[in-house]
């Protein structure tokens, strides 16, 4: 328990540092006094706009998406007993990606609230398919992963087809496929907040039961952990969070897959602890990845998914070799 609180404390400090870096650094330089004045809602209007209207929404978007993906991956991995559980890899984000592609192509015309709601609904359809397959007796983790990857590939093909058909070949489509927080404003974040809340609220009551699911459905049912219901709720929560993440940032890869494994290395394998740690850990990894994507090639930038893949791939290989 002591270790758990130490890890939480360290992650909170890292997050505070990340938020300050995200708000302070950028192509337009701010000296310390102007920056802190702006942070404290004082000082000149240009610094205020720069910090609160341009940089801070992007920081908050990264925190939100990182949390969504970390928790979503954790719920998928624990409820399906599958170390490959990830909202993007299992196709949950795929449905949301198709919705976003339709919006970018101009086929789907709706406001930002409607777009987030449709993304979450599409993600829930993918979640429903995964929940259906995962509840079938005797389906192996490898087969479930294959089904998930196939759904994901299908959705990616449809989304790419929609973008190609509409001739959306701009930086915009690259940012969407690779994931990006560029130019995100409060109007992009606020519609996702209710779904973020719904996903976490759905996940909370089943957290205690997810450990029992590790024993297999028959034993979990015998303990009274209601595996089918628990899994359905966990995957639905994962779908809501995964869909909200895609609506805000596009397809940010590796975060949902990697974070639960990193959390397990830090705090052991109690799902409750892993899930709680996945919140600040997912937020921190995504925030720093975005800072790297934004600042490394200033004034231009690369998709954040490129950075998460660069960090995530070697880490995942390490985890797979040492822990799994």
């Amino acid at each position: 328990m002591r270790r758990f609180f130490i890890v939480i404390g360290v992650l909170v400090l890292i997050l505070v540092a990340g938020v300050l870096i995200g708000a302070a650094l950028g192509p337009v330089k701010l000296d310390a006094s102007r920056f802190f004045s702006a942070i404290l809602m004082r000082g000149d209007a240009s610094a205020h706009i720069l910090v609160w209207d341009l940089r801070m929404p992007r920081v908050i978007a990264a925190l939100l998406v990182g949390t969504c993906l970390g928790v979503s991956g954790c719920l998928l991995q624990s409820s399906t007993r599958n170390p490959l559980g990830d909202p993007q890899l299992f196709g949950l984000g795929g449905g949301a990606a198709v919705v976003q592609a339709l919006a970018m192509a101009g086929t789907l015309r709706t406001g930002s609230w409607g777009l987030v709601a449709l993304s979450v609904a599409a993600s829930l359809i993918g979640a429903g398919a995964i929940a259906l397959f995962a509840s079938r007796q005797g389906i192996s983790p490898a087969r479930l992963a294959l089904i998930g990857v196939s759904l994901s590939a299908l959705a990616a093909a449809v989304a790419t087809g929609i973008l190609a058909e509409a001739r959306v070949f701009s930086q915009q489509s690259l940012s969407f496929i690779g994931g990006s927080f560029a130019n995100r404003g409060w109007s992009d974040i606020v519609p996702a907040l209710p779904f973020f809340g719904i996903g976490l609220v759905l996940a909370l009551p089943v957290m205690g039961r997810l450990n029992a699911l590790a024993l297999g459905d028959l034993v979990a049912a015998n303990l009274g952990a209601e595996p089918k219901r628990t899994r359905a709720i966990a995957i639905a929560a994962s779908g809501v969070l995964g869909g909200a993440a895609v609506a805000v940032a596009g397809l940010v890869g590796f975060v949902g897959l990697l974070i639960p494994h990193l959390a397990r290395l830090l705090v052991g394998h109690d799902i409750r602890a892993i899930l709680i740690i996945s919140i600040p850990l997912g937020a921190a990894v995504t925030l720093f990845a975005d800072q790297a994507a934004r600042l490394a090639f200033m004034p231009s930038e690369v998709p954040v998914g490129l950075v998460t893949a660069l960090i995530g791939a070697p880490l995942m290989i390490y985890v797979a070799r040492r822990v799994l």
Partner: protein, 237 residues
């Protein structure tokens, strides 16, 4: 306490798996359920655990009709360790056995073992003679050690009956004998133990009662002092 099976039947895909099964499973005794592959042993255990519903017939738990109880209520009497149970990834033996104390309806999100529950878990580890392994990962243990860990987990649930489905498969003869002795000891402590197995010699040596299933029907229910092999249907394994 006694569990009475009364004309229990189960049908899967229009095929009769259990037919008119009538038998008794008392507490304080090691009852072995034997029969060829496909005889319906696993199905019977899953019916008792409340996982499956009988097509007809019923079983009485100390006189109460189980068909009036929910799956959760039935499960309060039976700890089930299924066939081919997989060790939970990364769990230590202590953590596995401690999960036996988890009661989803009573425990809050942040449940932790209290002092007396911790003592109880340690006592079950000691009873199954695996206290020295308590901090080892379950997946790293030998087959025999893993089965003892699962048995301690079943005991930690403190239910009246243990349902063990082919728990001894893959163990060597020494480990099997040792496990049978342990089960006998647990049964004589007051638990009802129902074990499905193919080891007829060990059944004859250790069981208090034997139920023989052939093609979903009970062909024998009584003491093990008989030629069990002869009771198997000739056209089955």
């Amino acid at each position: 306490m006694i569990v009475n099976l009364e004309a229990l039947s189960f049908i899967r895909n229009d095929k009769s798996v259990l037919s008119d099964v009538t038998a008794a499973i008392p507490d304080g005794a090691l009852t072995c359920l034997v029969g060829p592959n496909g005889a319906g042993k696993t199905t019977l255990l899953r019916l008792l655990a409340g996982e499956l519903k009988a097509a007809s017939g019923k079983f009485l738990i100390d006189g109460s009709d189980s068909s009036t109880l929910s799956q959760k209520e039935v499960a309060r009497y039976f700890s089930l360790i299924p066939q081919d149970v997989q060790p939970p990834p990364h769990f230590t033996v202590f953590e596995l056995v401690a999960l036996g104390k988890y009661e989803p309806d009573k425990r809050a999100l942040w449940w932790r073992l209290n002092e007396s529950e911790r003592d109880a878990v340690n006592s079950y580890l000691s009873r199954c003679r695996i206290e020295a392994l308590s901090q080892r990962r379950v997946e790293e243990l030998s087959g025999g050690e893993q089965q003892r860990a699962w048995l301690a987990f079943a005991l930690a649930q403190e239910k009246k009956f243990l349902l063990l489905d082919e728990t001894l498969d893959g163990l060597d003869i020494i480990a099997k004998q040792s496990f049978f002795r342990l089960l006998k000891e647990i049964a004589s402590g007051g638990k009802g133990v129902l074990l499905t197995t193919h080891d007829l010699d060990l059944v004859a040596q250790f069981a208090d009662r034997v139920i023989v299933l052939n093609s979903g029907k009970v062909s024998y229910d009584g003491s093990p002092g008989t030629n069990l092999q002869a009771l198997f249907a000739p056209n089955n394994g």
